[in-house]
Symmetry: C2
Subunit: 205 residues, 2 copies
């Protein structure tokens, strides 16, 4: 400990050195594997540091406890979902295409980080406030997108919060089925288009 | 133990006497409160029997372990969701009305049994096979309904499994928001109609 460490490890401002940021990232990536494989109760700080290939004492420069790195990991995943969606929709031409591309980006993210479901879901028990914040924040972002589509006349002008929770639910369960529980013969690449068709014209003939 | 007890307690066929069925029901209702409040790990068989007002030994006439009553409770909830939806749609006039009424019945069920989310979600960790079976079976039922609507020409004729998972996701997250996390000023009674509008014509203007 000591050399090249962050000047402080407050979880909001984070490490101030580039080396500190890399070490914190290594710990979070190791925690993702550890919590994802073992679940919160069986995971251990010593196994997280072993996976991260850092000294046990180094852990405490960044996080105070197993609870704290778990909370940080939930926030990290929540930010990852947000950033993946934002990157996915940067070139989307219409409000409908934004929803299709946001779902496609989420499915890619969930396929790359299959632990996300287990970890976010376990937060319901380990850290209920983070669990609820993740979904409330995600629904709020979707609500803003849908209202923006309403403002341009592409979406209905009476979009409600319920519409946003409905869209989020579609996306979460399509991710569960086609990213986490994917089968070999699934036409995964068709899924965002199918979901967009529901948003475009429902499921009626 | 002994008097009025079921002749056998195999979990598939269940108790054979009416008194046995009532006792098993009391244990499941008590387990719902116990697991719902404390979670699986902190719940205890002795507190379940205390809540059910039956002798501790009686528990083992019906269930072998805490794991077994938890699994039975997940199946019981899964059956409850299925039966509530079936009752809700018995008089529905159209395929769209079936989806609206099924959601309304699910929201009522979830408001009456708010523990359902916590218990089904904890099954992801305590009993992953039951967790997956619950959602796969529910999606399959929705898929059959949507295909039936396709066969009569009310829904599109190219309904896929992804459409069913999308509808299930909408319903699950509308239940999370408007049954479990309901706020005082929510217009909960409007939610099934809002969801049906999405299925009818999407969210486009």
């Amino acid at each position: 400990m000591g050399r090249g460490q962050p000047l402080q490890s407050d979880e909001n401002s984070g490490p101030v050195t580039e080396r500190g940021r890399r070490t914190r990232r290594k710990l979070l990536d190791a925690a993702k594997l550890e919590f994802g494989e073992k679940g919160f109760h069986d995971a251990s700080i010593s196994d997280i540091t072993r996976r991260a290939e850092v000294a046990l004492g180094t852990f405490y420069t960044y996080f105070e406890s197993k609870d704290e790195i778990f909370r940080a990991l939930v926030r990290d995943f929540s930010d990852g979902v947000k950033e993946a969606a934002a990157a996915g929709i940067s070139a989307s031409a219409t409000a409908l295409a934004i929803e299709r591309d946001a779902l496609a980006a989420f499915l890619s993210f969930a396929r790359e980080h299959k632990e996300i479901y287990r970890i976010i879901d376990e937060a319901e028990f380990v850290d209920p406030a983070s669990y609820r914040a993740h979904y409330e924040n995600t629904a709020q972002r979707i609500f803003e997108r849908l209202k923006a589509g309403g403002a341009t006349g592409e979406f209905r002008d009476d979009i409600t919060e319920a519409d946003a929770w409905a869209v989020m639910g579609m996306n979460v369960f399509l991710g569960l089925r086609y990213a986490v529980w994917a089968k070999d013969d699934d036409a995964i690449e068709d899924v965002p288009e199918r979901a967009m068709q529901i948003l475009k014209r429902g499921i009626t003939a």
